[in-house]
Symmetry: C2
Protein backbone atom coordinates (compact mmCIF):
# COMPACT_ATOMS: atom_id res chain seq x y z
CA UNK A 1 0.00 0.00 0.00
CA UNK A 2 0.93 3.61 -0.66
CA UNK A 3 3.10 5.03 2.16
CA UNK A 4 0.73 7.97 2.58
CA UNK A 5 -2.34 5.79 3.09
CA UNK A 6 -0.24 3.78 5.54
CA UNK A 7 0.39 7.02 7.43
CA UNK A 8 -3.34 7.83 7.43
CA UNK A 9 -4.05 4.35 8.84
CA UNK A 10 -1.38 4.89 11.53
CA UNK A 11 -3.27 8.04 12.50
CA UNK A 12 -6.56 6.12 12.61
CA UNK A 13 -5.00 3.46 14.84
CA UNK A 14 -3.54 6.12 17.11
CA UNK A 15 -7.00 7.63 17.45
CA UNK A 16 -8.44 4.25 18.36
CA UNK A 17 -5.69 3.73 20.95
CA UNK A 18 -6.70 7.07 22.50
CA UNK A 19 -10.29 5.85 22.82
CA UNK A 20 -11.37 7.82 19.77
CA UNK A 21 -12.96 7.25 16.40
CA UNK A 22 -10.47 5.48 14.08
CA UNK A 23 -10.30 7.79 11.10
CA UNK A 24 -6.99 9.27 10.00
CA UNK A 25 -5.77 11.57 7.28
CA UNK A 26 -2.63 13.14 5.85
CA UNK A 27 -2.14 16.11 3.55
CA UNK A 28 0.66 15.53 1.04
CA UNK A 29 2.45 18.22 -0.94
CA UNK A 30 5.36 17.63 -3.30
CA UNK A 31 5.83 14.08 -2.03
CA UNK A 32 5.94 15.10 1.63
CA UNK A 33 3.38 14.95 4.44
CA UNK A 34 2.68 18.55 5.48
CA UNK A 35 -0.13 17.75 7.92
CA UNK A 36 -1.45 14.64 9.63
CA UNK A 37 -4.28 14.04 12.03
CA UNK A 38 -7.15 11.94 13.27
CA UNK A 39 -10.69 12.36 14.51
CA UNK A 40 -10.75 14.29 17.84
CA UNK A 41 -14.40 14.02 18.89
CA UNK A 42 -13.66 11.97 21.99
CA UNK A 43 -10.18 13.22 22.81
CA UNK A 44 -10.88 16.97 22.48
CA UNK A 45 -14.67 17.07 22.58
CA UNK A 46 -14.44 18.48 19.07
CA UNK A 47 -17.37 18.46 16.65
CA UNK A 48 -15.33 19.89 13.78
CA UNK A 49 -12.06 17.95 13.96
CA UNK A 50 -12.81 14.96 11.81
CA UNK A 51 -9.65 13.22 10.61
CA UNK A 52 -9.37 15.30 7.45
CA UNK A 53 -10.01 18.56 9.30
CA UNK A 54 -7.39 17.69 11.92
CA UNK A 55 -4.82 17.01 9.18
CA UNK A 56 -5.62 20.38 7.58
CA UNK A 57 -5.48 22.13 10.94
CA UNK A 58 -2.14 20.54 11.79
CA UNK A 59 -0.74 21.57 8.39
CA UNK A 60 -1.29 25.15 9.56
CA UNK A 61 -1.80 28.22 7.42
CA UNK A 62 -0.54 27.32 3.97
CA UNK A 63 -0.43 29.45 0.82
CA UNK A 64 -3.33 28.78 -1.59
CA UNK A 65 -0.79 27.35 -4.05
CA UNK A 66 0.17 24.54 -1.67
CA UNK A 67 -3.41 23.28 -1.27
CA UNK A 68 -3.87 23.40 -5.02
CA UNK A 69 -0.90 21.10 -5.52
CA UNK A 70 -1.74 18.72 -2.68
CA UNK A 71 -3.44 15.37 -2.26
CA UNK A 72 -5.50 14.53 0.82
CA UNK A 73 -5.43 10.93 2.00
CA UNK A 74 -8.18 9.76 4.30
CA UNK A 75 -9.05 6.33 5.62
CA UNK A 76 -12.80 6.94 5.16
CA UNK A 77 -14.95 8.60 2.51
CA UNK A 78 -15.14 12.33 3.39
CA UNK A 79 -18.38 13.61 4.95
CA UNK A 80 -20.05 16.82 3.70
CA UNK A 81 -18.01 19.02 6.10
CA UNK A 82 -14.66 17.55 5.10
CA UNK A 83 -15.67 17.57 1.43
CA UNK A 84 -16.52 21.24 1.82
CA UNK A 85 -13.08 21.95 3.31
CA UNK A 86 -11.48 20.18 0.33
CA UNK A 87 -13.50 22.43 -1.99
CA UNK A 88 -12.77 25.60 0.01
CA UNK A 89 -9.03 25.11 -0.32
CA UNK A 90 -9.14 23.76 -3.86
CA UNK A 91 -7.40 20.47 -3.07
CA UNK A 92 -7.49 18.72 -6.46
CA UNK A 93 -7.20 15.07 -5.42
CA UNK A 94 -8.45 12.88 -2.58
CA UNK A 95 -7.43 9.27 -1.97
CA UNK A 96 -10.04 7.41 0.10
CA UNK A 97 -9.32 4.23 2.06
CA UNK A 98 -12.84 2.89 1.82
CA UNK A 99 -16.47 3.92 1.37
CA UNK A 100 -18.14 0.64 2.34
CA UNK A 101 -18.96 1.59 5.92
CA UNK A 102 -19.83 5.23 5.12
CA UNK A 103 -20.39 6.95 1.79
CA UNK A 104 -19.42 10.60 1.97
CA UNK A 105 -19.91 13.40 -0.54
CA UNK A 106 -17.74 11.83 -3.25
CA UNK A 107 -20.23 12.62 -6.02
CA UNK A 108 -20.33 16.28 -5.00
CA UNK A 109 -16.53 16.43 -5.01
CA UNK A 110 -16.35 14.86 -8.47
CA UNK A 111 -19.07 17.20 -9.75
CA UNK A 112 -16.87 20.12 -8.65
CA UNK A 113 -13.82 18.73 -10.43
CA UNK A 114 -12.00 16.93 -7.61
CA UNK A 115 -10.35 13.62 -8.49
CA UNK A 116 -11.52 11.02 -5.96
CA UNK A 117 -9.68 7.71 -5.91
CA UNK A 118 -11.09 4.95 -3.69
CA UNK A 119 -8.57 2.22 -2.94
CA UNK A 120 -11.18 0.03 -1.16
CA UNK A 121 -8.87 -1.12 1.62
CA UNK A 122 -9.93 -4.15 3.67
CA UNK A 123 -7.83 -2.82 6.54
CA UNK A 124 -9.63 0.54 6.62
CA UNK A 125 -13.04 -1.13 6.35
CA UNK A 126 -12.25 -3.63 9.12
CA UNK A 127 -11.18 -0.81 11.46
CA UNK A 128 -14.44 1.06 10.93
CA UNK A 129 -16.67 -2.01 10.96
CA UNK A 130 -15.30 -3.06 14.34
CA UNK A 131 -15.63 0.45 15.72
CA UNK A 132 -19.21 0.93 14.50
CA UNK A 133 -20.11 -2.44 15.99
CA UNK A 134 -18.54 -1.54 19.35
CA UNK A 135 -19.66 2.10 19.59
CA UNK A 136 -22.68 2.72 17.36
CA UNK A 137 -23.88 5.77 19.32
CA UNK A 138 -20.53 7.52 19.10
CA UNK A 139 -20.36 6.81 15.40
CA UNK A 140 -23.86 8.13 14.81
CA UNK A 141 -22.99 11.28 16.71
CA UNK A 142 -19.97 11.82 14.48
CA UNK A 143 -22.05 11.73 11.30
CA UNK A 144 -24.98 13.69 12.74
CA UNK A 145 -27.34 10.69 12.76
CA UNK B 1 -32.48 43.64 13.92
CA UNK B 2 -32.94 40.13 15.31
CA UNK B 3 -31.14 39.70 18.65
CA UNK B 4 -29.33 36.61 17.33
CA UNK B 5 -27.88 38.41 14.32
CA UNK B 6 -26.86 41.18 16.72
CA UNK B 7 -24.99 38.56 18.75
CA UNK B 8 -23.28 37.25 15.58
CA UNK B 9 -22.21 40.81 14.74
CA UNK B 10 -20.86 41.27 18.28
CA UNK B 11 -18.75 38.17 17.68
CA UNK B 12 -17.52 39.57 14.36
CA UNK B 13 -16.57 42.86 16.05
CA UNK B 14 -14.79 41.01 18.83
CA UNK B 15 -12.79 39.11 16.20
CA UNK B 16 -11.84 42.39 14.53
CA UNK B 17 -10.77 43.85 17.88
CA UNK B 18 -8.49 40.83 18.33
CA UNK B 19 -6.84 41.55 14.97
CA UNK B 20 -8.81 38.84 13.24
CA UNK B 21 -11.24 38.43 10.37
CA UNK B 22 -14.62 39.98 11.30
CA UNK B 23 -17.04 37.11 10.80
CA UNK B 24 -19.22 35.90 13.65
CA UNK B 25 -21.85 33.27 14.17
CA UNK B 26 -24.24 31.88 16.76
CA UNK B 27 -26.10 28.57 16.94
CA UNK B 28 -29.61 28.98 18.33
CA UNK B 29 -31.76 26.19 19.75
CA UNK B 30 -35.19 26.66 21.30
CA UNK B 31 -34.76 30.43 21.45
CA UNK B 32 -31.40 30.28 23.20
CA UNK B 33 -27.81 30.67 21.98
CA UNK B 34 -26.08 27.33 22.55
CA UNK B 35 -22.81 28.23 20.83
CA UNK B 36 -21.17 31.42 19.62
CA UNK B 37 -17.89 32.13 17.90
CA UNK B 38 -15.85 34.03 15.36
CA UNK B 39 -13.17 33.38 12.79
CA UNK B 40 -9.91 32.25 14.46
CA UNK B 41 -7.44 32.24 11.55
CA UNK B 42 -5.28 35.00 12.97
CA UNK B 43 -5.87 34.47 16.69
CA UNK B 44 -5.33 30.68 16.75
CA UNK B 45 -3.61 30.07 13.43
CA UNK B 46 -6.65 27.97 12.56
CA UNK B 47 -7.56 27.04 9.01
CA UNK B 48 -10.79 25.31 10.01
CA UNK B 49 -12.29 27.70 12.58
CA UNK B 50 -14.31 30.00 10.40
CA UNK B 51 -16.98 31.86 12.38
CA UNK B 52 -19.63 29.20 11.84
CA UNK B 53 -17.25 26.36 12.71
CA UNK B 54 -16.15 28.15 15.88
CA UNK B 55 -19.79 28.57 16.94
CA UNK B 56 -20.41 24.85 16.36
CA UNK B 57 -17.22 23.92 18.19
CA UNK B 58 -18.11 26.12 21.15
CA UNK B 59 -21.59 24.56 21.31
CA UNK B 60 -19.81 21.30 22.06
CA UNK B 61 -21.08 17.79 21.45
CA UNK B 62 -24.83 18.07 21.01
CA UNK B 63 -27.38 15.34 20.33
CA UNK B 64 -28.39 15.05 16.66
CA UNK B 65 -31.86 16.24 17.64
CA UNK B 66 -30.55 19.61 18.82
CA UNK B 67 -28.85 20.41 15.50
CA UNK B 68 -31.99 19.41 13.64
CA UNK B 69 -34.02 21.93 15.60
CA UNK B 70 -31.46 24.74 15.43
CA UNK B 71 -30.82 27.82 13.36
CA UNK B 72 -27.32 29.02 12.53
CA UNK B 73 -26.82 32.77 12.27
CA UNK B 74 -23.75 34.02 10.45
CA UNK B 75 -22.67 37.50 9.44
CA UNK B 76 -21.39 36.28 6.04
CA UNK B 77 -22.62 33.79 3.44
CA UNK B 78 -21.22 30.36 4.45
CA UNK B 79 -18.26 29.01 2.44
CA UNK B 80 -18.23 25.40 1.16
CA UNK B 81 -16.64 24.09 4.40
CA UNK B 82 -19.17 25.76 6.69
CA UNK B 83 -22.01 24.79 4.36
CA UNK B 84 -20.78 21.20 4.55
CA UNK B 85 -20.81 21.34 8.35
CA UNK B 86 -24.41 22.62 8.23
CA UNK B 87 -25.31 19.65 6.02
CA UNK B 88 -23.39 17.14 8.15
CA UNK B 89 -25.34 18.07 11.24
CA UNK B 90 -28.65 18.57 9.47
CA UNK B 91 -29.15 22.17 10.60
CA UNK B 92 -32.37 23.10 8.81
CA UNK B 93 -32.08 26.89 8.69
CA UNK B 94 -29.34 29.45 8.20
CA UNK B 95 -29.73 33.21 8.56
CA UNK B 96 -27.04 35.10 6.63
CA UNK B 97 -26.04 38.70 7.35
CA UNK B 98 -24.94 39.45 3.81
CA UNK B 99 -23.64 37.86 0.62
CA UNK B 100 -22.54 40.99 -1.21
CA UNK B 101 -18.85 40.74 -0.33
CA UNK B 102 -18.68 36.93 -0.62
CA UNK B 103 -21.17 34.46 -2.05
CA UNK B 104 -20.90 31.12 -0.32
CA UNK B 105 -22.55 27.79 -1.12
CA UNK B 106 -26.11 29.01 -0.58
CA UNK B 107 -27.42 27.29 -3.71
CA UNK B 108 -25.94 23.97 -2.60
CA UNK B 109 -27.56 24.35 0.82
CA UNK B 110 -30.93 25.13 -0.73
CA UNK B 111 -30.60 22.20 -3.14
CA UNK B 112 -30.15 19.95 -0.10
CA UNK B 113 -33.22 21.32 1.62
CA UNK B 114 -31.74 23.94 3.96
CA UNK B 115 -33.69 27.18 4.35
CA UNK B 116 -31.31 30.08 3.72
CA UNK B 117 -32.51 33.53 4.65
CA UNK B 118 -30.34 36.49 3.67
CA UNK B 119 -31.11 39.65 5.60
CA UNK B 120 -28.73 41.80 3.50
CA UNK B 121 -27.38 43.85 6.38
CA UNK B 122 -25.52 47.06 5.60
CA UNK B 123 -23.66 46.71 8.89
CA UNK B 124 -22.35 43.24 8.04
CA UNK B 125 -21.38 44.30 4.53
CA UNK B 126 -19.58 47.43 5.77
CA UNK B 127 -17.55 45.37 8.28
CA UNK B 128 -16.36 42.99 5.55
CA UNK B 129 -15.83 45.65 2.89
CA UNK B 130 -13.54 47.60 5.21
CA UNK B 131 -11.67 44.45 6.24
CA UNK B 132 -11.17 43.22 2.66
CA UNK B 133 -9.93 46.68 1.70
CA UNK B 134 -7.47 46.79 4.61
CA UNK B 135 -6.27 43.15 4.51
CA UNK B 136 -6.89 41.64 1.09
CA UNK B 137 -4.20 38.95 1.45
CA UNK B 138 -5.57 37.69 4.74
CA UNK B 139 -9.05 37.58 3.28
CA UNK B 140 -7.90 35.68 0.21
CA UNK B 141 -6.13 33.18 2.44
CA UNK B 142 -9.33 32.59 4.37
CA UNK B 143 -11.28 31.69 1.24
CA UNK B 144 -8.49 29.70 -0.38
CA UNK B 145 -7.87 32.28 -3.12
Amino acid sequence: MDEFMEAAIEEARQGLAEGGIPIGSVLVHAGRIVGRGHNRRVQSGSVVLHGEMDALENAGRQPAKVYRESTLYTTLSPCPMCSGAILLYGIPKVVVGENRTFMGDEDHLRARGVEVQVIDSDECAALMRQFINDSPELWNEDIGS
